[in-house]
């Protein structure tokens, strides 16, 4: 044949258009009777506005499911009644992968996928309600990473859901905007609930217990969006003492067992009116990615590794700090507080950006403010100096208030 002339200018290559509709018509469409194919077919054929109801029962899948159609609701008969099991999965990095807007998943359980159970990648108006995600063998390193995992989403509501035994985070909202996480239970995960690189999140009325860390607010480098403005309030965060079973190298693998609420490198975080109890390393940890394996080569993006504008007030603390995880913290407790003593409620690794100091002090909006009664103390671990001068912080340095953050509001 003749050579095809390539150009960058618009030109007509064809004199006529074909009847291309033929292409979509198969000579014969295969029919399948098993439920797995039927459900995937329903997901392929869904139209905006459809409600796909899945009946009560245990439904098994050997490949991951996916949905790409906007405006679809998937509804089961209850989080203990309709169970999608991926126990025998041979392919697919998720149980259910959604790349669509206006998506609702409710009253259903997803279990035992190889990778994540539910991932929603880049969707607007995402509602997860009354869902249970669980690895049924309990906390194990070989479990998939995330239970409920919206990433790069906008207007995310996760409520009345249960997340159990994820080897990373049970509920993980990453790189998203406008988020409400409420009335959920997260247990036996490495991280119960994690908000990462997200902007404008309200996390309230949740119960996080028996995780390695209860509720995490993190920022990681090299991502399109840095997070800020998260409110964590009126949660029950207790006994998060499960040994860390995460994979080394993941950000949560560095979370010590016995962590209640952890703020890592994130800015503008308000923690108030929570009940935080019996987390054996510390009820609250405030840290920088410098404490979690950050290295110089990662500085390329001008990432801000410092937690700034942290405001902790009105929480109820009880117990905790009595049996910290890791040799360094154990040694520190023994040295500073004695064999029967405890670490204080708030543990801070001490990393602070001195380049932003004003008159030798952190700028008022960058401070870590603690207004939680006289009994609540801060331990400065002195990370920047190799933990040499760790000790109780002067509470005068943390006696301040910050402007309160706006409520997360949207109509999903």
């Amino acid at each position: 044949m003749r050579k095809i002339l390539l150009s960058t200018a618009m030109m007509l290559a064809f004199s006529a258009c074909g009847d291309t509709d033929q292409v979509t018509q198969s000579p014969q469409t295969a029919t399948s009777t098993d439920f797995a194919s039927t459900l995937q077919e329903k997901l392929l054929d869904a139209k905006p506005g459809d409600i796909i109801e899945i009946p009560e029962g245990l439904h098994e899948f050997n490949r991951g499911l996916s949905l790409t159609v906007d405006g679809v609701t998937i509804r089961g008969a209850g989080q203990d009644k309709t169970i999608l099991s991926f126990k025998n999965q041979i392919a697919g990095a998720e149980g259910l992968l959604v790349t669509a807007n206006d998506f609702t998943l409710e009253n259903i359980a997803l279990e035992d996928s190889k990778g994540d159970l539910l991932k929603v990648n880049e969707g607007k108006n995402i509602t997860i309600r009354g869902v249970r995600t669980e690895w049924t063998g309990g906390p194990k390193t070989e479990n998939g990473a995330y239970g409920i995992y919206p990433v790069q989403c906008e207007n995310v509501l996760i409520e009345d859901s249960i997340a159990i035994a994820a080897s990373d985070a049970g509920i993980y909202v990453g790189q998203s905007k406008n988020i409400i996480v409420r009335h959920n239970l997260a247990e036996y995960n490495v991280a119960g609930i994690e908000i990462e690189n997200s902007v404008g999140a309200d996390v309230y009325n949740n119960t996080a217990t028996k995780n390695t860390g209860g509720i995490l607010v993190f920022n990681m480098p090299n991502l399109p969006q840095e997070g800020h403005s998260t409110r964590v309030f009126e949660n029950e965060v207790f006994e998060n003492n499960t040994k860390n079973f995460g994979h080394a190298g993941t950000p949560v693998a560095s979370v010590p067992a016995g962590s209640g609420i952890v703020i890592n490198s994130n800015d503008k975080v308000e923690v108030f009116n929570n009940s935080i109890r019996d987390n054996q390393t510390a009820n609250i940890i405030i840290s920088s990615v410098y404490s979690t394996g950050y290295n110089d080569l990662n500085k390329a993006d001008g990432f801000d590794p410092y937690p700034e504008g942290i405001y902790i007030y009105g929480n109820h603390f009880e117990g905790g700090g009595n049996k910290p995880d890791g040799a360094e913290l154990k040694g520190l407790k023994l040295l500073k507080f004695g064999p029967t003593g405890t670490l204080p409620d708030i543990l801070w690794d001490g990393y602070i950006d001195q380049n932003k100091f004003v008159d030798g002090q952190p700028a008022s909006n960058n401070r870590i403010c603690v207004d939680n009664g006289d009994d609540v103390k801060v331990l400065n671990a002195d990370g920047p100096n190799g933990y040499k001068n760790a000790g109780l912080a002067d509470m005068a340095d943390h006696s301040c208030a910050l402007p309160k953050l706006a409520k997360a509001e949207f109509t999903p």
Binding site: T24, I90, G144, D168, G293
Partner: protein, 318 residues
């Protein structure tokens, strides 16, 4: 565009066959790639970057096949051509698995998977995909595996290279991927057109071969607007060596995929690099790419291993 005649799979008129310098790995399947234009031969094509802008009506097909083994479900690992001289496939020696179709309609491309029947007489649309239990025979080594035919959403999983627009686009037929540009009169567009390396060409620098391999196998997701932009890892050819290419980059949401390693690439240390660990796995929770293979591409792992070994520096913590 393809039909079975006299025990051969033959191409329609107005089809042309193309090959890639470095192809996507698909469980050692061979691929017959054709472009078919029912309304007449293409005489000229507009370019969009280095992508060819095919006219409405164009059908791109990719037929996945293996040289037949001794038994029905045995297929051979073979690094030699098995097609006839006219690019048709001899069905007495070839096992056809599936033909994937990309069709250009007025409102964009659609992707459809067709699966060949056992008699090799007909390919049937399977929008929900399929699983074929095959055994790969490599001399006396036999490896059973589940060959996965993607469902139409999974077609988009790779072909929607922009996760915001989610528009389906061809991946292979781009100037940088084409093995030969003999088909084309490059006219005025020659300047600035880069061609990727042939990943198997030992005479070329290992870096250019590795980058070509990462480009075709990874960058449809791992680009700045792709589905894997959530990881901050961009494996497009233009990404400079640094954290976005994985160098000393900590993972974001890799889960099991870290294999207890801290960084994507540790220069000089392939065994400490998440890249090699994930490429070398067939566990769905670990492996990369997530879709499109059930087997490890040993030669691909070897190439990336060699490249990482050749890199200087270290990831010491600051």
């Amino acid at each position: 565009m393809l039909s079975v005649q006299s025990n051969n799979l033959v191409l329609a008129n107005q089809s042309f066959v193309y090959d890639l310098n470095t192809p996507l790995f698909s469980d050692y399947a061979h691929k017959l790639r054709t472009i078919y234009t029912p309304d007449g031969e293409i005489t000229s094509l507009n370019m969009d970057g280095d992508a060819l802008d095919f006219p409405v009506g164009t059908i791109i097909s990719k037929t996945f096949y293996y040289p037949k083994g001794a038994n029905d479900n045995e297929v051979l690992k073979a690094n030699y051509a098995v097609q006839n001289n006219d690019d048709s496939l001899p069905l007495n020696t070839v096992k056809l698995i599936e033909s994937r179709i990309l069709a250009r309609r007025k409102d964009g491309w659609i992707a459809l998977p067709y699966v060949w029947n056992d008699e090799q007489t007909e390919a049937i649309l399977k929008r929900t995909g399929d699983v074929k239990r095959l055994t790969l025979v490599d001399d006396d080594k036999k490896t059973p595996f589940a060959y996965i035919v993607p469902n139409t959403n999974q077609c988009a999983g790779c072909h929607a290279t922009n996760n915001t627009t989610r528009e389906i686009v061809p991946i292979g037929p781009k100037i940088r991927h084409l093995k030969s540009l003999d088909l084309f009169d490059l006219g005025s567009v020659q300047e600035g057109l880069a061609n990727n390396s042939d990943w198997q060409d030992d005479s070329l620098a290992v870096e250019s071969r590795a980058r070509a391999y990462l480009d075709i196998n990874c960058s449809h997701c791992h680009n700045e607007v792709g589905p894997a932009d959530t990881s901050g890892l961009h494996l497009t050819p233009g990404t400079p060596i640094g954290p976005h290419l994985g160098l000393c980059k900590t993972p974001i949401a890799a889960g099991t995929g870290t294999g207890n390693r801290k960084y994507g690439i540790v220069p000089g240390k392939p065994d400490d690099s998440i890249f090699v660990y994930r490429m070398n796995s067939d566990n769905p929770a670990v492996m990369m790419p997530e879709l499109g293979r059930s087997l490890v591409h040993e030669e691909g792992v070897e190439l990336i291993t060699d490249w990482i070994t050749s890199l200087n520096g270290d990831c010491s913590e600051g």
